[in-house]
């Protein structure tokens, strides 16, 4: 990591690449600091966070129950599967114009797009988690006289948690990806907008500062989810 930053710092200084297009890391850092102090960065970060988290939370709220239903009622899953496959394999960004047409250029189209893109990993992971619950555990719970509802609560739901978390983590990564692209395509705030605007105005250090912020944000969100996941799955043997 440090070596990478060192190379970034040294290579432009030595003139190996044009420092207009790749300024040394220290200059990027300075630009980042300036953006942060002026409050501009906070504003863009805030706009992006609201959209990304809004979309992600909506996806979690909608996709988890749907995924559970899909995993639990096999005939439903079989009936819907071809349709789901088509949607899942349609690049979310290809649908951006559709969302813009339907919901306008404002916040709602971006949040809806993020939600759409985030729903698939969550939906499919939840459904497969429910479907692959150890049948022996279900049998054993049934032998204790638990009804379907109790078996679901005590066995199926808890055993889906790890896979479900994987889905949410994937979705979080997707949310940033899709959002930044959407903001680049058309917005007046947000990190994606910051990057394109900086590029447009040839404020190259500012552009890199925006990219850096997105990387850090992605890392932070992932780390948060990892910690959360560890907390709710303390019962599992330690994994990497």
């Amino acid at each position: 990591m440090i070596a990478f930053l060192a190379v970034w710092e040294v290579v432009p200084r030595l003139g190996l690449v044009d420092r207009v297009f790749l300024p040394p890391f220290s200059e990027v850092l300075a630009a980042w600091w300036q953006l942060a102090v002026s409050g501009e960065l906070g504003e863009h970060l805030g706009a992006s966070l609201v959209r990304a988290l809004g979309g992600l939370v909506l996806a979690v709220v909608v996709a988890i129950p749907l995924g559970i239903a899909l995993g639990w009622y096999r005939p439903v899953a079989e009936a819907l599967n071809p349709l789901l496959e088509i949607f899942r394999n349609t690049a979310a960004l290809a649908l951006l114009p559709v969302f813009v047409l339907l919901l306008g250029l404002g916040e709602s189209s971006k949040i809806a797009l993020v939600m759409f893109a985030c729903s698939w990993p969550i939906l499919l992971n939840t459904a497969s988690a429910v479907r692959t619950v150890d049948p022996l555990l279900v049998r054993s719970a049934r032998s204790l006289g638990f009804g379907a509802g109790a078996v679901f609560r005590k066995v199926v739901l808890p055993s889906t948690v790890p896979t479900l978390f994987t889905g949410v983590r994937l979705a979080a990564a997707v949310s940033l990806l899709v959002l930044v692209a959407a903001e680049m395509a058309g917005a007046n705030a947000g990190l994606g907008y910051l990057i394109t605007a900086a590029q447009f105005n040839v404020e190259v250090p500012q552009m890199y500062a925006g990219i850096l912020t997105i990387s850090l944000l992605g890392l932070a969100i992932n780390q948060l989810l990892v910690v959360l996941e560890r907390r709710v799955s303390r019962w599992r043997p330690a994994t990497g």
Binding site: Y73, P135, R139, S140, R142, V155, P158
Partner: protein, 290 residues
Amino acid sequence: MSSSIRFEHVARRFPGREAGAPPVTALDDLDLEVAAGELVTLVGPSGCGKSTLLDLVAGLSSPSSGRVLVDDREVTGPGLDRGVVFQQYALLPWRTARANVELGLEANGTPRRERAERAREYLDLVGLAGFERHYPHELSGGMTQRVAIARSLAFDPAVLLMDEPFAALDAQTRETLQDELLRIWGRTGKTILFITHGIDEAVYLGRRVAVLTARPGRVKGIVEVGDLPRGDPDTDVRSSPEFARARHRVWTSLRGETKRQGEHADRGARPVKAETQHDRTQEARVDQHA
């Protein structure tokens, strides 16, 4: 508290694998009686429907014809008058040993505080005092199965059904747990139906050993083992002449069956074991949606 188990002309058929295939008969016209407080072991060639039979008593599936009675009442579904110990432990990995034992007590609505107390008491009974807060992955195979036994005893069922519970353990742990089981049986006086494919285990544990025929399973014969000085740490029961005689009788009875099954297989019949597993996963799937 204990109850008798009675099978009356029990048959169980599964639908054929492909549409239009003839149904598979796992059990046919099976009669067996286990007296209250008795420990009966059941041996049979693999795929003879041993586990199917246990599912019927547990109420997880119902016979195609005939009746299964526990304490003179027909079995119509699962219930806490019967406790099942499965081969692969079947503990919930996200629950501690104590919380796993409490599971059965949650089913019968025992108040929370009493649940914790009872769980501790039964973990103590199976020799796991001090391991209440361990998760299954932190326990060895033998300890895990002890937890499973504690769970099945904690709600005080009249009948304990055990489906090859020690098959996955190493020889030494298995012998220890066999003695533990005899001790627990002596202390609790439960009716125990113990399924195994090990002849030694069957003879060592059972006062009577029921030998099943190859598919379709029915009771071929019952070997009376009688009283051996089991559980006595100073006697090597397994090398006594009484044990050898009983073992030989079970072996001879079983030998005919495995031979018969072997001939079947040679004639190109489908592998019986694979079929059972197929049937049971299919069943489990259906059950999930019920």
